[in-house]
Each structure stands twice: as C-alpha cells, then as structure tokens.
C-alpha cells in the first residue's frame, strides 16, 4: 500500500503514538520467528518481522500504510514463540487501536467492523448480530457489501439462529464504563 495514503494531517497524531508500540517491542532481535509462525503472513505486504523493524526505526508512514496489522487474527503463535518473550499480539492490537482511533483509510473495513460491534454492545450490553452487521454495512457505504453475507444470513435465519427482530430497548447498561474508559483512553 502506498505510504502517502496515510500521510494526511489526521495521521500525524497516530505517528506520535507509535513510540508506545516501539517500547513494547524494542528488544526485538529480528530473528523472524514471528513471521515463520504467522498463519496470515502469506497475505501480508510486510512480514511481521519487517513490520517490527519499521516500528523500531520509527517509520509510521510505512507502518500505517501496511495492511499487516489488520491481518493479525490474534492466534498468539508469535507471542508464544518469541524468544525475547515480547507481547507481539498485544503490539498488533495497539497498532489496530491507533488505526481505529485516527480512522486511517487503508484500514477502514476492519475498523468499521470493530467500531460498529462496540456500538451495538454499548447500546444493549450484549452484541445484537443483526444490528451490528447493519451498522457495519451503513458505515462502509458499499451497497454491494451486504450481498456477500446474504446467503449465509438467510441460512442462519432459516435455522432460527439469527433473529430478524430489530432490538428496540436501549438500556445502555454499560454507559458508565464506556464513558470512563473512553475518557481514560483519550487522556493517555
């Protein structure tokens, strides 16, 4: 992906935050065990080892221009095997959070997916799968996207596993926790 895709004004704040991630992985010895263990490395533009190198060198345009961290599926193989004992999966999550917080365009799909999941949880305390996917489709503004899910959605409805009833009650039982957590995250 082209680094210039993220080199806009909103992205520069994400760049400052990269230091926090650098501290998490600063004793990386570039052995590549993470890359050799990663089930998704085949689809990445930078291998995990390369990504950590760019983080260590403080190159946010390269890091946030890459889709590598959005391809982490949290299998924890790299964390388990890292000879330095580094929290590599946690560091991937930290990069995902920076991508989400600063709404970096290359990571729009996974960011919207996670954000709308949390919106449904915030409204009801538990996720409502129908509402969450509808919010996700609306966020992505791609009229063809729902078609990809139509067949599976119909099978789930036919099986009685997916309710088509839109949740009406909004108790917002987690509102206090959400407010406090967001406050704390922003004040970090």
């Amino acid at each position: 992906m082209n680094p210039s895709a993220v080199a806009d004004s909103t992205a520069t704040h994400a760049f400052d935050d990269l230091e926090h991630v650098r501290q998490m992985i600063q004793s990386c010895i570039q052995c590549g065990t993470c890359t050799g263990s990663c089930p998704n490395a085949f689809a990445m533009d930078l291998t995990p080892r390369q990504l950590w190198r760019h983080v260590m060198l403080g190159q946010p345009a390269v890091v946030f221009g890459s889709r590598t961290f959005t391809l982490c599926s949290s299998c924890y193989y790299c964390t388990l095997r890292c000879p330095r004992g580094l929290p590599l999966t946690d560091a991937m999550h930290a990069l995902k959070r920076l991508g989400a917080r600063h709404r970096l365009t290359p990571h729009k799909a996974s960011t919207a997916f996670y954000r709308q999941f949390m919106e449904s949880v915030r409204r009801h305390g538990r996720v409502n799968e129908l509402e969450f996917m509808t919010l996700y489709f609306a966020d992505m503004k791609n009229p063809l996207l729902p078609l990809r899910y139509a067949l599976l959605g119909l099978r789930l409805v036919a099986k009685g596993k997916l309710s088509l009833r839109w949740p009406m009650r909004r108790q917002r039982p987690l509102e206090a926790i959400f407010c406090k957590a967001v406050e704390r995250e922003e004040g970090r």
Partner: protein
C-alpha cells in the same frame, strides 16, 4: 461440582447449540451451572482493537459480578474468545495490583469491584481435567464406534496461556473422544488458526485458512470444535471452499459437548443438533441422528 457460567453473546445467537449442549451435558455429568446474573459482552476481538481500557473493563465487570456469589471460584466459559478476554484480566491483574485498581475505577459507576478471587476455566479444561473419561465413559450408551474424529482446538483456548494443554501440540480432547468410543483422526492442524473474523473483513484470507483445515481433515468423519468462531468458519463455507479447491470438502462439524451428549444418549433436540450447518448424510446415517 458448582461453577459460575458465562455463556457470552455468540451462545445466545449463532452458537445457540453450543449453549444448549453445554448446559445439558454438564447437568448430566453432575456439574451445576450458576449463570452470571446480568452478564454483558466481554469485548470480543473488537474492544482490544478499539479501546485498551474497555478491553479490560468489560471482562472485569463480568468477573466482579461472579465474585458476588462466593459458592465457587471457577467461571466456566465455552467460547474461546470470551475465555481469553476474561483470562487476560485474571492473568494481568494477578501480578499487577496497580492495574487492578485502575480497572476498578472504571467499574465504580456500577458499584462493582474485581478482587481477583475467581479462576477462569475453559469448557474443554473442565471436561478434560476435572471430569475426564472416568466421568464420561460410564454414561456412554451410544458408543460412536469407528467414527473418526478430528479434534480442532483453535487458538485462544491454547495460547498465549498454556493452562491445560500443550499450546502447540494439543491432546486434551483425545481421551474424551476415545471415552465415547470413537477414534482420534491424527492430523497436525488442531491448534492452527481458522482465520477468526477474517471471514468477514478479509474473506480471501479466511477462505485460504479454512481450505487448509478442511483439506487436512479429509479422511475424518467429523471435526469437533470448542469455539463458536471456529465452528462457524468450518461449517458455513464448505460449499464455496469446495468450489474454490475443486474437491468435495464437506464434513460434519460438531461442538464437543454435542458429540459427548449424543454418545451419552441425550436427545438431539436437547443438544441443538438441528442448528448445525454441516451435518452430512453420513453422520445422520452412522449415528441415527434425526434430520433437522
């Protein structure tokens, strides 16, 4: 034996059969489930990708609710993603009192406190370590003779915390499979990743990982899972994966408590077998399970 029970959101929706089969099998094995009153979402994989503090506060809230009832320390969790989120809080606060007190400031609004007194347990851990073949075998009335079962563990019940099994070469399901009279299908994929939510946001990557698993399972009769995400990925995309790989990769996929419950003679409806998306004719024929 009494345990707190945290079902998690999936078990109310797309994994309703995992909830049903867990409840009836645990009851039949003499385990009483105390469902956590007022439980809420653990944050799934979305909280950790959006907000660091929510990713800790949401699981902690549920653990704090469980601690209000001190009858037992154990919190039983069937979903591997929920399990790991709750386990993270247990593990990270064990040695970090400062972190626990920060988390507690986030819970103040609800007058909740997490003290770190509970122990988070995966369903597979309780089935394999606490109950085991000794508890299950005597209750088997429909032995699954000759059925070849591929045990699929997925990632998050194994890693990063090696609590009850080898995180790279897991074996904890094997004695349970033998206890119901079936054979263990030897394959090296038990702890490999199913792609998790890639199937939604990066479908071409998800399909590749699922294809690798389904191809490796050729020769087995059933894949057994212990996670709603793994189950969905393995059962729901068999048509498109078969087409993309130019081979028939259809195979029955069951949750572990469905398999055990069936062997114990529990009715198919109690085990939610009508909800599974991938039960082959062969499974129906071999085990005489009624069609949904």
């Amino acid at each position: 034996m009494k345990v707190h029970y945290y079902p998690g959101c999936s078990l109310e929706g797309t994994a309703v059969e995992y909830d049903r089969s867990t409840r009836v099998v645990m009851a039949a094995l003499g385990v009483e489930l105390l469902e956590i009153e007022g439980w809420t979402c653990c944050g799934a994989s979305a909280a950790e990708a959006t907000d660091e503090w929510l990713a800790l506060a949401l699981p902690a809230r549920n653990l704090a609710l469980a601690e209000r009832h001190p009858e037992t320390r154990d919190v039983l969790v069937p979903c591997s993603a929920c399990y790991l989120n709750l386990k993270h809080v247990e593990e990270k606060t064990r040695t970090d009192a400062q972190l626990r007190s920060t988390i507690n400031t986030l819970l103040e609004g609800e007058d909740l406190r997490f003290e770190g007194r509970v122990r988070v347990r995966h369903l597979l851990d309780v089935l394999a370590s606490d109950l085991g073949p000794a508890a299950i075998h005597p209750k088997v009335v429909r032995p699954l003779d000759g059925l070849r079962i591929a045990p699929y563990y997925g990632c998050q019940c194994l890693r990063p915390y090696a609590v009850f099994d080898d995180p790279e070469m897991p074996t904890s399901m094997e004695p349970l499979i033998r206890a119901v009279g079936a054979e263990v299908f030897p394959w090296p994929m038990g702890g490999r990743c199913c792609g998790a939510s890639h199937m939604n946001t990066q479908p071409e990557v998800g399909i590749t990982l699922v294809a690798g698993l389904l191809k490796a399972a050729r020769g087995a009769d059933v894949i057994v899972t212990v996670c709603p995400m793994c189950q969905m990925n393995l059962e729901a995309f068999q048509n498109s994966v078969s087409r993309s790989q130019h081979m028939d990769l259809h195979i029955s996929v069951l949750y572990l408590p469905q398999l055990i419950g069936h062997a114990m003679g529990l009715p198919a409806s109690d085990l939610g077998l009508g909800y599974n998306l991938a039960l082959t004719e062969e499974w129906r024929h071999r085990v005489h399970a009624p069609a949904s």
